[in-house]
């Protein structure tokens, strides 16, 4: 499903974000990526959504070789990959229904399909009855559920969740994680980045640790063990 082969991303001479990262994710896997801020997690995800281009190395997702894609293919890629952000990225002047519907409108779905699909997805994330609410009237956890609904409404093969629990208290954070697991059970490959030790330990999934732009460990059914090394070595420059 996702294949990275010696992918390097250099922003400038003093800043190498990713250094020959190689990893392989199977379809329907649930993978957690951990690492301190600045380790390269966000860069890795941005490469997958083609917000950034790698300096060198190969990226193949769902059989598509990223080298061979043109800029005009980017919208097509982004419609196949759902993304959830730490800061939700909801449109404040649109209500819950409209925020989720936007993803379908962009992909050219008809009004009938939209009216049929959106309530179903809102039901999955537990937001039934909140269709008319504006994001400002929702709690952080609810907002993130809207964002998840929007990310999965087009039934993507891959869901990328970039620190989705970063702004949430433990109770709401865990609810979000349970929704991600549910989506994973439906057959979507989930890539989750997090700082939350409890979540990682509770989930017992494959954990990839990135440090200073390199994959330093890749373990199945793992716990959170990023603190093996002394903290000083991880602080950049």
């Amino acid at each position: 499903m996702i294949l990275l082969d010696r992918v390097t991303k250099i922003y400038n001479r003093t800043n190498t974000a990713l250094d020959r990262v190689t990893l392989h994710v199977e379809p329907k896997e649930f993978v957690i990526i951990i690492g301190i801020s600045g380790a390269g997690k966000s860069t890795l995800l941005k490469l997958l959504t083609k917000e950034e281009k790698p300096t060198s190395g190969k990226i193949i997702i769902g059989g598509l070789d990223y080298d061979k894609l043109k800029d005009s293919d980017i919208p097509m890629i982004r419609r196949k990959i759902g993304v959830v952000f730490q800061d939700f990225k909801l449109l404040p002047n649109k209500n819950v229904f409209e925020n989720v519907a936007l993803a379908l409108e962009i992909a050219g779905y008809g009004g009938k399909e939209i009216r049929h699909t959106v309530p179903k997805v809102l039901d999955i994330v537990g937001l039934k009855g909140k269709e008319k609410s504006k994001p400002s009237e929702l709690s952080g956890g609810e907002r993130q559920r809207v964002a998840i609904a929007r990310a999965v409404v087009r039934q993507p093969k891959i869901l990328i969740a970039d620190e989705p629990t970063g702004n949430l208290d433990p109770k709401h954070a865990w609810e979000i994680i349970k929704i991600l697991e549910k989506i994973n059970r439906y057959g979507t490959t989930v890539l989750l980045t997090t700082h939350n030790q409890n979540i990682v330990n509770k989930l017992r999934r494959r954990v990839i640790t990135i440090d200073d732009g390199r994959v330093v460990s890749d373990r199945a059914n793992a716990d959170y063990s990023v603190h093996e090394k002394p903290a000083e070595s991880k602080v950049k420059k």
Binding site: T49, E51, I106, Y109
Partner: protein, 320 residues
């Protein structure tokens, strides 16, 4: 996905782009009003230049038609001599036509022109016809009358004439004035239209730049959700094209009202050298041509400026 469904999707997407463009226009009401106002002035100037140009040209043609050179012939000149004189004049390159006006015709015309002056008519009827026969020469180009002048002033031709040749001198002055005004309005109209079209474009440019800035978060989110370039760009272009359409309709309506008011206000049908009556008729006769031309101009101004603005301010490339 079947072909039918793809076609359907395209239609839905196009409709959404148009709808979204119209919503933006309403949402950015204040900026829209500014852009539309300047566009109305631009199109109004284009409309005025267009009408003024047509009107002056018409007045010019009418006056040019009236200009002639009258050669008055002595009663003693016989038919044969007269015919050879006509033939000679016709040979001059700048002569469009030569009409012979007999003594009787001249008298009839004179009587008609003075039909209210009974004393004068009575006086004329009691004498022999005092008016000479004449040749009315119409020039092709009123500005090159010298050749005709040189011919009629040759001594042997002069000998046949009863009176001094008349050149409609007063009319010529008027014609020069109007020709000058026409040239001036053509140039001034063109310059003003270009200047205001540029100002319109700059204002639309700024309007879109501000709209993009105000909505940068929304546009970024749409891009992350996989919106295509045209899905993001389209509404801005639609919005500007609507500026053009609205402005053209308003400019034509204002023109229409002004014309109606001016026509009823000025009984004389002409103010100075501007023939309002003709301008109004021309406007009404070419109503659809004028409306479509202004619509076209408005749409082009809107589309071009928004195309450039979105190209400049919406970044679509992936950073390397």
């Amino acid at each position: 996905m079947s072909a039918k469904r793809i076609g359907n999707h395209r239609f839905i997407t196009l409709w959404r782009i148009i709808k979204s463009g119209m919503q933006n226009l309403v949402r950015n009401a204040r900026l829209s009003v500014a852009a539309i106002s300047v566009m109305i002035i631009t199109l109004g100037i284009v409309l005025f230049s267009f009408l003024a140009n047509a009107t002056f040209k018409n007045t010019l043609t009418k006056l040019t038609d009236k200009i002639d050179v009258s050669v008055y012939i002595k009663d003693s000149v016989d038919e044969k001599k007269r015919d050879s004189l006509i033939a000679e004049i016709k040979n001059i390159s700048n002569v469009k036509s030569v009409d012979y006006v007999s003594k009787e015709q001249a008298l009839d015309e004179y009587k008609k022109a003075n039909e209210n002056n009974i004393e004068l008519l009575l006086a004329i009827s009691q004498t022999d016809n005092p008016l000479p026969a004449s040749l009315r020469i119409k020039p092709v180009d009123i500005n090159k009358i010298d050749e005709i002048k040189a011919f009629v002033e040759r001594p042997e031709i002069k000998a046949l004439q009863s009176d001094e040749t008349s050149y409609s001198g007063d009319r010529r002055e008027a014609i020069d004035k109007i020709a000058g005004a026409t040239r001036f309005f053509q140039k001034a109209g063109l310059v003003a239209a270009v200047v205001f079209a540029s100002i319109s474009m700059l204002i639309i440019f700024n309007t879109i730049q501000m709209a993009i800035f105000n909505r940068r978060d929304e546009l970024q989110i749409m891009r992350l959700l996989g919106a295509s370039t045209w899905y993001i760009r389209g509404p801005f272009i639609v919005e500007s094209v609507f500026y053009g359409i609205i402005s053209a309709v308003i400019a034509v309506s204002i023109g229409y009202s002004l014309m109606a008011v001016a026509t009823s206000a000025f009984d004389t049908s002409s103010v100075g050298i501007l023939d309002i009556k003709f301008a109004n008729e021309y406007f009404l006769n070419h109503y659809w041509l004028i409306l479509t031309s202004l619509l076209g101009a408005g749409i082009i101004i809107g589309a071009v400026s928004s195309f450039i603005a979105t190209r400049r301010y919406l970044k679509f490339k992936t950073s390397k």
